[in-house]
């Protein structure tokens, strides 16, 4: 009984995977009885990280190994740590007008974000539901 609630899903990094993975995360958080407002925001942030892995990570990759993994783990006290990880290549890019909202959205919602770009990209997000919606 002591292990924390967790969810891990690996899917092919293709556009249709994003919705399925968000749905699984939403149902997981709903089962934990988290508040709907917090669920909306967490799913939004994780959804951005998933969309990035799907859109950018494998721009120049061969067809194999195009995968994206979502890992989420709830701690007590309304904390959730989540990680979206791919095995692609992070693309450093100058800010493009009308784009580049994804990571900004992630940073607005998560209380802590760390981006690691070794053997692919890993976006680690910490959500603290007690501190959420502070920006709104």
């Amino acid at each position: 009984m002591s292990e924390p609630p967790e969810l891990r899903i690996t899917r092919r990094a293709v556009p249709t995977s994003a919705a399925a993975m968000r749905h699984a995360l939403r149902a997981f958080l709903t089962a934990l009885e988290w508040e709907e407002d917090a669920i909306l925001d967490i799913v939004t942030a994780v959804g951005e990280a998933l969309a990035n892995a799907i859109e950018h990570a494998y721009e120049d990759a061969t067809e194999e190994a195009r995968e994206v993994t979502l890992y989420a783990r709830a701690a007590g006290d309304g904390l959730l740590s989540a990680e979206v990880r791919d095995c692609g290549r992070f693309i450093e890019r100058a800010r493009r007008p009308g784009r580049g909202f994804g990571l900004r959205i992630v940073r607005s919602i998560a209380s802590d974000v760390s981006l690691e770009t070794k053997d692919g990209t890993s976006v680690r997000m910490l959500f603290d539901t007690r501190k959420m919606h502070k920006a709104l």
Binding site: A19, D41, G47, F101, I109, L136
Partner: protein, 106 residues
Amino acid sequence: MSDLRVIALHGELDIARRDEARFALRADGDVGAVLLDFADVTYADSTILSTLLVFTREMGIRGVPVAILVGTPQLARIVQYAGLSDILPVFNERSDALTHLSEGRR
């Protein structure tokens, strides 16, 4: 408001539906105002925000007011998180959206 164009989308607007959204967001011809009826949209990601931004700017250049009617709080909130509240005209109530459009009409 005979030349009001209503564009309705529904469901989850994410990266998998970007092309569909881009295709839907057109307003050719003589249009006086555009209501983007997203009342039945349940989720939007940032790729859709980019599409909305392009569309709203194009319409702005043509002097055509745009209003985005949203149903889920998720859409209103992602707009704020992206820092686009002052740029994307988001409304929770249809009447407010229509008022905005009639005030902005040529």
